[in-house]
Amino acid sequence: MIKGGWGKKGLQLGLLAGGMGALASLTSCFGTVPKPVFPLDRRLEELGPSRAPSLAGPWLALISHRDGRDQVVLLNVDDQRPVPLPGLNRPDAQPLSVGVDAKGERLGLVRQLEGRTELLLYRRRMMGSQLIAMNPPGVPRRVMLRADGRELAVEVSRNGNWQVDLIEIP
């Protein structure tokens, strides 16, 4: 029995305060819990296994394994709808890396096609791709498109080293 004014209620309050303190210290130890965007996450689950995300403005580009092959998917995060990318996903190509700009107008893509790895710039409004040669010659692996759509940052294998190329887009 606790003496000196500590009744059952006081003990309960003390335990509650102690528990909250422990929880607070655990949270600070392990980090802040971010809130998932739930409707979008359901849509992403439906897409199947996915990787290589690129987020800019309301646009999310990623590579998803659908219908037995990897494809580039572009989603509007606000309404969770995929938008068509005519001419970008060839059945004989394997996409490796994708980047999108904040307008969702330009996409940078590294893909393997017929035994070679190539870098492309896709313009959605024109529904067409422009092949971008590596200069000096090299093999691209990863691409990131600047949010304003005006520059590509590319990871390139050249003479046994990984290098970074920055390519401005008019």
Binding site: T32, D41, S50, A133, R146, E151, E155, L166, I167
Partner: protein, 185 residues
């Protein structure tokens, strides 16, 4: 005559849009790689929204370390608060380079971290479930984070809302509090 002109116009459009090489593209160097030896590997580049900042990964003292440089000078910005989370992986920058998101390591566990360069505050994120982070992309305004990882043996992408955790980093000229998508010049 009209048929020939039309055909020439169509040919010109095709050449400019599809597979015509890289006419009109300018290339620039990423700036010197700081303390990294000249022939060292440099991987996973990411630019801020308008290209003022570049982050990439270099190997220093046997560990994959994040290097942040002003562009185009290549001047390196020290990031001492990230040292204890080496090796680093998958860096991503906000519009003005205020926020730097990355996958770091702590006690053998991969952690998602967001560094606010304006305040120096480092925000570790606790991911739900058993999601093992592999690759991330921070929205340029800092409002969302896309994360690719493995959970229960399945590879997936998840998007998280950061609006209540960090304030937005908007492109120059856009009013704070604007909920509209950034208008890119």
């Amino acid at each position: 005559m009209r048929v020939w002109v039309g055909a020439l116009v169509l040919l010109a459009i095709n050449l400019s849009v599809v597979g015509c090489g890289d006419l009109g593209l300018t290339r620039r160097r990423a700036g010197p790689a700081g303390l990294a030896p000249g022939g060292a590997d440099r991987e996973q580049p990411a630019l801020s929204g308008q290209g003022e900042w570049l982050v990439s990964l270099v190997e220093r003292q046997g560990r994959q370390t994040l290097m942040m440089q002003a562009q185009p000078s290549g001047a390196e910005v020290p990031l001492p608060s990230l040292r204890r989370f080496e090796p680093h992986d998958s860096p991503s920058l906000s519009w003005n380079g205020r926020y730097l998101a990355l996958v770091g390591q702590q006690g053998g566990k991969r952690r998602v971290l967001i560094l606010d360069r304006a305040s120096g505050r480092l925000l570790p994120l606790q991911l739900p479930g058993d999601l093992q982070p592999e690759q991330l992309s921070l929205a340029p305004d800092g409002r969302r984070l896309a994360l690719a990882g493995i959970t229960r043996g399945r590879r997936l992408v998840q998007v998280f809302d950061l609006a209540n955790l960090i304030e937005p980093d908007l492109p120059r000229g856009l009013a704070i509090g604007s909920m509209a998508s950034p208008t890119v010049p």
